[in-house]
C-alpha cells in the first residue's frame, strides 16, 4: 500500500483539493458579524491541519462560490474559528446555513503575522495591536498567541476601534485577555447611553498610549485601509520605526495561491505575499489611488 500522502503535500500538488467541514458552533458577535466553528469531517485532516495567526482559508459553499476569510483561531477539539461579516454571496449562504451546515474549505493560505521574530528578541519588545471593526478577527489568534508568551514581551496593548459599542467583537472574552496581561483600550465612533469608554478614532488611543521605548515597539494592525493609513502615520510620528509596523490588507482573492491575478497590489499578490505585510513593502503602493 502506498504511504498516505501528508495533507500539506496533497494541497501543494493539488491546490484545488477541498476539505469537507461542518459548522458545529455559532456565536453572534454583532448584527452582521458571526463567529463560526468549523469541524473537519476527517479526524486525521483535523490533526494535520496547522495554521499560523494571520493566515486565511477559502470557505466554499457549493453553488455560491468561495470567500477568503481570515482564521480567528483554533478550538481544543481541532475545530477552526472564523469570524465573518455577512456581506456577500458566500457569507450570506453560511449565515443562512448556520449550525450543522456542511461545506468546503481550502487552506490555510497566506503570509502570517511575524510571531516568531517578535518573540525571539534580545530586548523584550512592546507590542501594540491596532484593530478596526471586523479587523480584529485576523488579530484574535495573534493576541492569544502573544498572551500565551506574555513573558517574552515588555507589554502588549490592544487598541480597538468600532463604529458603535455593539460593533465590538469578542466582548465575551476581552475581559479574559485583560486578566491574562493584555492592556486593552477601546473607542467607538458613536457611543450609546451605556457606553462609558472613549469616543473617537483609534489613532487617538495610540497618541495617548504610554510607550517607554518606541524603538522596541512593534505595531500590528488590521482594519479599514483609511484607519491603517492613520495608524501607521501616528505610529511613525511617535517614533516607532517603519520596519516595526505590520499590517494585514484585503483584496479580491479568488485562488488563494497567487495564480489567478485578482488580488494584486503593485508587485504583491495579497494572497501569497500577504495578507500580512511589513509596512515598508506596501507603503508606496498604498499611496497610489486605484492601484
Amino acid at each position: 500500500m502506498r504511504p498516505r500522502e501528508s495533507l500539506r503535500n496533497r494541497q501543494v500538488n493539488d491546490p484545488w483539493h477541498i476539505l469537507p467541514v461542518q459548522i458545529v458552533r455559532t456565536i453572534a458577535e454583532t448584527t452582521d458579524v458571526v463567529t463560526f466553528e468549523f469541524a473537519f469531517d476527517d479526524p486525521t485532516v483535523a490533526q494535520e491541519y496547522h495554521f499560523s495567526p494571520g493566515q486565511f482559508n477559502m470557505l466554499y459553499v457549493p453553488g455560491y462560490g468561495e470567500a477568503a476569510i481570515s482564521i480567528a483561531g483554533k478550538t481544543p477539539r481541532n475545530g477552526v474559528l472564523h469570524t465573518i461579516r455577512i456581506v456577500g454571496d458566500v457569507t450570506h449562504a453560511i449565515a443562512r446555513g448556520g449550525l450543522g451546515m456542511h461545506l468546503g474549505l481550502r487552506g490555510p493560505f497566506g503570509n502570517p503575522w511575524p510571531v516568531e521574530s517578535l518573540c525571539s528578541r534580545v530586548k523584550k519588545p512592546s507590542i501594540v495591536v491596532i484593530a478596526g471593526g471586523v479587523g480584529l478577527a485576523p488579530l484574535r489568534d495573534l493576541i492569544l498567541t502573544l498572551i500565551d508568551r506574555r513573558k517574552d514581551f515588555a507589554s502588549i496593548h490592544l487598541l480597538l476601534g468600532a463604529r458603535t459599542p455593539s460593533d465590538i467583537l469578542y466582548r465575551y472574552e476581552i475581559d479574559d485577555w485583560e486578566l491574562a496581561g493584555l492592556d486593552v483600550h477601546t473607542t467607538v465612533d458613536r457611543s450609546n447611553s451605556r457606553w462609558r469608554g472613549n469616543v473617537g478614532v483609534v489613532t487617538l488611543l495610540l497618541e495617548r498610549l504610554s510607550l517607554p521605548e518606541c524603538e522596541s515597539t512593534f505595531v500590528l494592525t488590521c482594519g479599514p485601509e483609511v484607519m491603517m493609513r492613520y495608524a501607521t502615520k501616528t505610529s511613525m510620528e511617535r517614533g516607532i520605526p517603519d520596519s516595526n509596523i505590520w499590517l494585514a490588507l484585503e483584496r479580491n482573492m479568488n485562488c488563494g495561491i497567487g495564480i489567478c491575478g485578482h488580488c494584486q497590489l503593485g508587485p504583491q499578490f495579497l494572497c501569497k505575499d500577504g495578507p500580512v505585510f511589513p509596512f515598508a513593502n506596501v507603503r508606496d503602493w498604498l499611496r497610489v489611488q486605484d492601484l
Binding site: G63, D89, H92, A93
Partner: protein, 278 residues
Amino acid sequence: MNAYSVKKDWFEPPRYKPRLAVFKFASCDGCQLQLLSCEDELLELADKVEVVHFLEATSHIEPGPYDIALVEGSITTHHDQHRIYEVRAQSKVLIAIGACATAGGIQALRNWGDHTEFLRAVYAKPDVIDSLSTSTAIADHVDVDFELRGCPINRYQLLEVVISFLAGRRPRIPQHSVCMECKRQLMVCTAVAHGTPCLGPITHAGCGAICPRFGRGCYGCFGPAGQANCDSLADNYLATRSNTQTLVPLLRNFNAAADEFRETGDRVDEQSDSGVAK
C-alpha cells in the same frame, strides 16, 4: 442595477414558494418567449416558483403582491407610466428584462423623431392616441432591482437571475464585452481580421458571441458593456473601417437610447456631413 448593486432583499430569499409574475409593456414579447422556450428547465422552475401572472403562458391572473416581477417592454404611454408604479408597489424584486425594458428598445428611435408628425402620418384620428413622445427604460420610472440585457434576453441568463434570487446570491451576469466570449471560444476577430465594424468591444456580453461566430460584426443587442468606451471605438472605426452612414444606424439600434450608445451615436451623427444619418 448590475450584480453588485443588488439590495439586501436579494440575500433574503422567501421561505415559501415565491410568486412570480411577468409583465409586458411596449415590446414584442420575444423576451417573455425566452422564458417559455426554456422548456425542460421551465418544468423544474415551476416546482420552485408559483407563476401567478404570465399572459403569454396562461390567461389565469392572480392579484399581487409578487415576490419576483419580470418586466418586459418600455414605457411609451401615460397609461403604462402609471401601471409600472402599480407593478413596483406590488413586487418585492423587480427585474427588467430585455433591451426595451433596460434601454427603451428599438421603439426608442422615436426619441429622435417628431412624435406629432408620426401620429399624423399613421393614424386617421391622432387625437385619440395616447402615447408619449419618448420610449424609456423601466429604471427611468421606478426603482429596478436588476436589469437583464439583450434583444432578446438569453434564456440561460434569465434562469440564472431567477435561480440566483431563489438561492439568495447575486446573479452571475458579467458586465464585460462580447470580445471576452469570442476569445474564450477561440473565435476569429472579425473586426481585426476582416475589417468588419463590430460593436463587440463595447457591447455587454451575454449572447455567447453569436454573430461573430458566423463572421458578422456584433450589432450591440445587449447594449453597452460596463464602462464602455464607445467614443474611442467610433473614432477608430470612422478612421479605419466604417463611415457615419454605417456607424450611426449601428449604434442607434435595439439599444439606441442606452446612454453610452446614444451619446456616441449623436456625436457621430453631428460629425456626418449632412448632419442626419441616412
